[in-house]
Symmetry: C2
Subunit: 142 residues, 2 copies
């Protein structure tokens, strides 16, 4: 199998495969004409890389999985180094999710406050004596 076919079967591009090779992740044999040659095991390696990439793993983080497969294990995560990457990633994900939730709450609070402030201003301008609460989600005085 040549680079174009492998790329297509893995749903990626030849540029990506050459990039992986330049990083030492997916070395290729060469045919007599200089063309890269791949087999089904390489496809398996590549799919492992792509799956982890889709999860948001950096390329370097996929290396233990690839080496694990090349060591003959049927699964890329059948090695301690791969499990360590999983665990570290879980920690990072938890931390990131917590942080994003915190930001989400703060932004949500700012939005609510700003909407209240604008509502009060509008009401004071319209009815200086008695401001009525307005549902901002509707956007009109229905």
């Amino acid at each position: 199998m040549r680079i174009g076919e492998l790329a297509e079967r893995a749903g990626t591009t030849t540029r990506t495969l050459r990039y992986y090779e330049s990083r030492g992740l997916l070395p290729a044999r060469r045919g007599s004409n200089g063309y890269r040659t791949y087999d089904e095991d390489d496809l398996k390696l590549l799919r492992q890389i792509r799956t982890l990439q889709d999860f948001g793993f950096e390329l370097e983080e996929t290396r233990p999985f690839v080496e694990c497969l090349r060591a003959g294990h049927p699964q890329g995560d059948a090695c301690p180094a791969s499990l360590a990457v999983y665990r570290r990633k879980l920690g990072e994900l938890d931390a990131l999710i917590d942080e994003l939730r915190s930001v989400r709450e703060q932004v949500g609070g700012q939005l609510a406050r700003a909407e209240r402030a604008m509502g009060e201003l509008a009401s004071e301008a319209a009815v200086p004596g008695g401001p009525e609460p307005v549902c901002e989600l509707e956007g009109r005085t229905g």
Copy 2:
């Protein structure tokens, strides 16, 4: 106030301030010697930008807040354009958090499966007759 003092009071660097100026976010008056000159209102603008940046807003997303302040409003989010940015950001945050939670679950599942597989292999090798469950978090047989 010159650029160094403003940077320090806002907890950032002069490079950052010049970058903001190059983006048209924080224009500066110039003294007779060519030095940039800032006042307290500029500090307020800058703090608004920094707060949003800390929330993960892109620079361009802070522009409505800055323009709102420069239009004379006491708060950068006292304008509809700012509220629109808040709302869009909330949507992005929700989507991102959901996605990360999904990834977290999948990675967690992979880790659990891989740990089970390794435990089974170890047990089979050691005690072919009766595999005992081992706590992977402890790491030893104590």
